[in-house]
Subunit: 356 residues, 3 copies
């Protein structure tokens, strides 16, 4: 079913800053993980968890650091950034087919659109009026682009992506299926118990080289715009509230929620299922570990975490919960002990009593 | 790209219960946040976090309370509900275009449907049989409505909304893209290790004035219906399980999950990423702060929270985790101390010993 | 609107391993929950929370265990698995209409596809090249199947399901709307501050009898495939990372996130909003309660939990948070007390002092 491809290691490493130790003519027919590789496979070693598999790997070549190369039983491709080099070599084996340029006859295109050269628009896509799509960009099947959407060159929207009116996307974007960008932010004003919609007048402005994962949602700004910087990578099922700003080259793992008006800096790394309160400022180069709740701004770069992690047997968990809620009483008991201790050591004995 | 609009403050406040202190003829060309406003902009002050920006705001007019008006450097629009008044004035600047009435030629309409006056049905939408759509309602592009769906008047489904068969939606609904209403609930019965589907025979009944955010999912009832009351507002990426009931005028922020058969009362406010166990009853006027886990029913109105919040440096977090899991031992140590203390103070000295 | 159906209890229990105590000719017109049932309704008792409603139920028949039958005020359908028996009897009342076989004229079908007998393909669906669809399978409206997708027999994709190229799905699958299977995993390599895409070369292989809930996302493998075993049931809004493997007959509740390369065993039960770190191994027959964070592998079957659960009034919560962060100091105080206690009891009194 999949196409068979093969390349010599020399071809795959052409132009890359690597040292090949071993047979640079060996033929590579695919990539594999280090413990599952077979003859003909290329693999890499980066995560220390997998180091134990190196001596016995069946791969024909391993991309690794100089420090690991001594234990490599086959041809070594040596570099100081194995994962980056792997990314570039593995691209030769990507079977994803770029659709042919052209507009599918079932697509519906609005008026006054500017469609660049070699753009591909898939079946049943709906493009609004005054939309601009840069050269070489692919709009997958069943996408919907509102009026005045702008997308840069060489971008790719997979099937079922929705961009609301006025959304701006840069070059080389990649949005997975189910992504929604530019839906109304969650803004309602309470008047005598009932909630009335606050118009969401901004839009979403997305830089170059941004990737957004499946079913992630990004709301348009209430006033001013929601902003996603260059090189930002968002995983699946992330919620980005209105007027959030995410700085360049920040990566955010799946199931994370970012409340309205929070600003996340550049070069941050946010673990999955993390939750940000609104109106925070998170400085550049902040790392937040997964499942954290961030309720205050962060002003110093570094690694942050919250809560209690680690699943334990449920009977132990129930005891821990109970202990947690008895903390106040425990503190009182320690206080009482401290008072008594002070009396016992330092105070004279009560009137009329003796230690005898 | 965006249209330029301008109104006098007099026009914008026409019919509103406000006092204008300053120049009611000033021309307003747009809205902005208080710290970013420029001449010609209207802004508002509600969140105390932003009070510091008032004296130096460049806005031409600020909507605020009487108490704040003294520090307003420009025209003041005085009201006791600034955010509500802002919502109504800002609506003049909303650029969202209502599509023209009519059924797009690529839409597929089933048999025996009742389509009201001035309904708009977008490209590639698929409408089942026996569907009823009230006057003035907009069905966006690529929506799918199952058989027997009923939608009231003046509602709006954005692109890519899915309503399963028999779902009922009231008037003035607004559903964002990717919303799924009426999918089967998560009901499986175990028989000798394998799980068998339990038919989900109810539907979802949604009241008037309900807003639902992008990619939120609401399951149909297993027996009886899932119910969403009038005026409920749901944010993005919320999961509503089968047979859940949400009372009128309750608002729920994004990434929240509500397990099956839980009843949430009226006028509740639920923070983002909160998780409700199943079969709970939450009384009216309950507030739950974000990222809480609610595992028991709540019978008294008030504000509730759970867990540990607040991200700290990860090395401190790891120590806290360790301390948490040593709580049992700490309690034992305190107990031991208390015993010894009692002996030291109150008990006679052990036989044969003296304090000398 | 809904069709009226009625069956005798005898018809409904035909072929089932149950004992009917009472009137097996009674006519059943629908199903209901035990506390809402009316004459003509069939209901069941399984959850002990609902036992109190049994004596006064208005149902005409109740499915329950022998142990509960004594308190049944109407016809009892006795079995050792009431919920399974209910699932089979309730199916008679399912109003979901299977669409007629055939390919809708607006569907777009690629080249070299194998479409089995009695397959139904809905309006505006887009089927790639070399796709194989087994006999009797239903592809709902607005689905998108990439090249080389394989789906087994008697499966059902509801509206708006996306399967990327090369995804394999077994027989009798049921995917709800908004499901995305085979989107690129979240793999980026950092090179001098910028993130570069790592090609995601695997696919997703899904066994037989798998159900996937609305808007759930499953990423394709980076190297090798993401694997979902036979009989797995996934709820709504779940994120399954690349190269995850989920063993046969495991059920996972909504809003759960599973990070890349984690392996979950067979017959596991995972509560909602649970979060798994990457590269873990969770053994067969593991139960994890809702909203847990699992950060280490689990090697013994059993029930696991994490964190602190249970919402409390927010003022109490704030105190608990503060106490939690003072745990380190509390431990120091206890240590100090222990030292003093040891000195008081065991050490001689300081030089020159006496207890008198």
């Amino acid at each position: 079913m999949k196409e068979n491809r093969h390349y010599s290691l020399k071809e795959l490493t052409h132009g890359l800053d690597v040292i090949v130790r071993g047979d640079s003519n060996c033929v590579i027919t695919g990539v594999s993980s280090i413990h599952e590789a077979k003859a003909g496979h290329l693999t890499f070693l980066m995560n220390a968890l997998y180091r134990k598999y190196l001596p016995s790997t069946q791969a024909s070549a391993v991309i690794l650091s100089e420090a690991e190369a001594a234990n490599c039983p086959c041809t070594a491709v040596i570099t100081c950034s194995p994962y980056s080099i792997y990314a570039r070599m593995a691209a030769y084996f990507d079977q994803k087919k770029r659709p042919l340029p052209g507009i599918h006859p079932t697509a519906s295109i609005g008026e006054h659109c500017e469609i660049g050269q070699d753009v591909s628009i898939g079946a049943h896509s709906v493009i609004g009026d005054h939309v601009s799509i840069g050269a070489g960009t692919v709009i997958g099947p069943a996408c919907t682009l509102g009026d005045y959407v702008v997308i840069g060159e060489a971008s790719c929207l997979d099937a079922h992506v929705t961009l609301y009116h006025l959304v701006v996307v840069g070059q080389r974007a990649h949005f997975s299926s189910g992504v929604v960008v530019g839906s109304d932010g969650f803004g309602f004003a309470n008047d005598q118990g009932a909630w009335h919609k606050v118009p969401q007048l901004g839009t979403v402005v997305i830089g170059d080289d941004v990737a957004i994962g499946a079913n992630t949602t990004i709301d348009r700004g209430a006033i001013g715009d929601t902003k996603i910087g260059d090189g930002v990578k968002l995983d699946n099922l992330i919620q980005v509230g209105h007027n959030v700003s995410i700085g360049a080259h920040t990566v955010i793992a799946g199931c994370t929620g970012i409340s309205g008006s929070t600003k996340i800096g550049k070069h941050c790394m946010i673990g999955g299922a993390t939750c940000f309160a609104g109106h925070l400022t998170i400085c550049d180069h902040t790392i937040v570990t997964g499942m954290s709740s961030v309720t205050k701004s962060i002003t110093e770069p570094g690694m942050y975490s919250s809560g209690i992690v680690g699943a334990v047997p449920s009977h132990e968990f129930r005891k821990q919960n109970a202990r947690f809620y008895r903390l106040g009483k425990l503190m009182d008991r320690v206080k009482t002990l401290e008072k008594k201790m002070t009396q016992t050591i330092a105070s004279p004995l009560p009137e009329g009593e003796s230690h005898k």
